[in-house]
Amino acid sequence: MYNFIYQAILAALLSSFSLALFSPLVTLRQVSYMGEALSHIAFAGIALALLLELNLQLTTLIFVVIVALAISWLSQKHKLQEANTITIFLSVSMALGIILISLKKGYSFDLESYLFGNVLMVSPSEIYQLIVLALLDIFFISFFYKELFYLSYNAEMAKFYGVPVKLVNTIFMILLAANIVITLRAAGIILVSAQLILPAVTAFNLVKRLDYSILCSAFIAILAASGGFALSWWLDLPTGANIVLLEFVFYLISLLFMTRPKTA
């Protein structure tokens, strides 16, 4: 019983923490819409895995990574507006997911737990995946901090000044896709994008440095995950929704403490 609860707490904390680490970068690079789209695109990956009876997480991860890189490539090569490209892939993936699910006749698919997340469904092996993901996120952001900083500021100028933009952007997209897929079971398709945005916008109201905002964002997410889990325990409410609502409350509170830039 207690192992089961610890596992669920860990799932809530680790998934919120990982998404929050990426949150300031996703927000600054204005790819938060990409985060939302990838979570929906994952639905087609899940459906494909179920239909072909493949490993669900690995198939979804490969599918989402391929689509994320395709969006990035199409936007850069064909000068399509990224928002348009994302919308095309989002709609097509959802349509594909629905068709694939309906092809799997007689299969009862627990859609709700994927849409809204369920930390109680997370298995021990998924906890290990979440731990590895959090460590990879920490390593990537710490190692490429300088590069990510300038890439988020202005990709064209970053490239001009010698930032390996293609390499860092590709790793960023792969890790973003991995974050969405691996946290999906705990955070949910619908709610994962909120956890990619809210911690960062709250942090930016409180601190004016990227490194501090990443730390602040992670702290907010841990606080919201702990509070969200406690609320769901006491009030028997869904954990994912509690976490998102608490993060929103923190955002509202942060508006009261908003720091202004120093004036010249």
Binding site: E147, Y150, N154, V168, K262, A264
Partner: protein, 242 residues
């Protein structure tokens, strides 16, 4: 030395640059003038590698420019730089961007880099703004931050796209005095500008561009005939007193 050979460039079949041949020798302080849409910014972006070559070639110190740019940097002040005004960066962090090429991926800036960035900020007169957020700076102050970034790598070449934008008249004058000093110290400078008076006072070489290269001659030779050839009938020379 920057050499441009038989360079042409078009966008959607519209010819932007046609058969440009130009040599910018070391130590030159060159000005690139021409009407709007003449291809000035395109020419600069081609030199800097922002745009891919279509026809022709560019050599820097005898090496194809993209090869040269992999190992070296050119100081560059863009006309407009797109960025989020709320981006959490200080002036110092933006100036340090000019030193990224000197570091391996994953390595951090050291105090020597910060000292160099501070020297560049001092040179452009805004050392006191080093720790200020970008979003709190005025247009003129931002321009000086970007100029400091262009100077910090101590590149042999400096390319500026309308540096006088966002600066008031005394600011333009002090900027060109600084550029002249840098030029005297050995920097080769290429600047786009519309201010013919200030160019004739400070620049040593004039490049008149209107899709084709009309002339390139010493800046002292700016006269009504050359201006007419470059800009057509729409421009006349007016003396301005700074």
């Amino acid at each position: 030395m920057i050499e441009i050979c038989s360079l042409s460039y078009n966008i959607n079949r519209n010819i932007i640059l046609e058969d440009i041949n130009l040599t910018l020798t070391d130590g030159e302080f060159a000005a690139l003038i021409g009407p709007n849409g003449a291809g000035k910014s395109t020419l600069i972006k081609l030199i800097l590698g922002f745009l891919p070559l279509q026809t022709g070639a560019i050599y820097i110190e005898g090496i194809p420019h993209l090869e040269w740019l992999k190992e070296h940097s050119i100081g560059y002040l863009p006309q407009h730089e797109e960025f989020n005004r709320n981006f959490p960066a200080t002036a110092m962090e933006i100036v340090l961007m000019g030193l990224v090429r000197e570091l391996h991926p994953g390595s951090r800036f050291k105090s020597i880099h910060r000292q160099r960035a501070m020297q560049a900020l001092t040179l452009t007169g805004i050392a006191h703004l080093a720790n200020h957020q970008l979003g709190s700076l005025s247009g003129g102050e931002l321009q000086r931050v970007f100029l400091a970034r262009a100077l910090v790598s101590d590149s042999k070449y400096l390319i500026l796209d309308e540096p006088e934008a966002s600066l008031d008249q005394p600011g333009v004058k002090s900027l060109f005095i600084l550029l002249k000093d840098l030029n005297k110290a050995g920097k080769t400078i290429l600047t786009i500008s519309h201010d013919l008076n200030i160019l004739s006072e400070y620049c040593s070489f004039l490049i008149c561009l209107n899709r084709r290269l009309h002339c390139h001659t010493s800046a002292e030779l700016v006269n009504a005939e050359i201006i007419h050839k470059t800009f057509g009938d729409t421009v006349r020379l007016i003396e301005k007193d700074y």
